[in-house]
Assembly symmetry: C2
Homo-oligomer: 151 residues x 2
């Protein structure tokens, strides 16, 4: 793909705007959406040119997206010739999130008894239970969603 059509730009902006309130920088959101539009992996230079952003911004965005499993990196580790493409395993960030819920639950549980007032203790115990329960639901949900056949 060379250059972007209007509808593609709208898709990229819409995606980035939806993710921005969640803490994903707009540049990362735009790179993420852009990569979804490319069947074949593309270079950082190409990303930067098509999205009219600096190469450094494009590289940082692509690297952090790949770290989190949002996109896939092709090429030798450390190589500057890395290519990036969409990840087929789009459940990956959600599996990571479900691990995080467990880690937070453990953090709350371990601190609940000693860290503060009795009210704090009750709140942290409630939060720990909530996070563990949500972790289980999310793991089940990711498993089920991944198995849905494509009609």
């Amino acid at each position: 793909m060379s250059g972007l059509r209007d509808d593609q730009r709208r898709f990229i902006d819409q995606f980035a705007c939806l993710l921005a309130p969640w803490g994903m920088p707009m540049s990362s959101g735009r790179v993420n959406a852009y990569l979804l539009l490319n069947a074949a992996p593309v270079s950082v230079n190409r990303i930067a040119a098509d999205l009219k952003m600096s190469k450094v911004s494009a590289w940082k965005a692509a690297r952090s997206l790949a770290e989190f499993g949002h996109v896939r990196r092709y090429g030798e580790p450390g190589s500057k010739r890395a290519l990036y493409g969409p990840s087929e395993d789009f459940a990956s960030p959600f599996r990571k999130q479900s691990s995080l819920l467990g880690a937070l639950g453990t953090c709350f549980q371990e601190s609940a008894a000693t860290i503060g007032s009795p009210e704090t203790s009750v709140l942290l115990q409630e939060m720990a239970k909530f996070y563990f329960s949500l972790q289980q639901a999310m793991e089940r949900g990711v498993g089920e969603a991944s198995q849905k056949p494509i009609v």
Copy 2:
């Protein structure tokens, strides 16, 4: 609470470090954890003093946390005398996340047919189904987790 004990500082740092890879700024993570330790709502000045951060940083962090439902704001809208405390409704950010999954699913679904190559179309359709399915699982999970009695 005036000043923080070592175990409280560790809790605050641990919480902030767990959330940082998810895009939550360390300052927001620290304010969030700090507020969990206080049964009574506290002022921005107090947050800033206990966490040794600037008032502007503390205010920005507290405001964005409250917008997202992570913490609760007390006081008149726009007032500089706002107090912040933990939210009892800790399911709120997850309900927002489940709405986001639906919005992303719709974004993928609406664009799938026209936005790119046939491969892109298949990928976006798969992603739309995955996001809708995960949205349902998450809504169910949040509902179930919220109803768990505290033992």
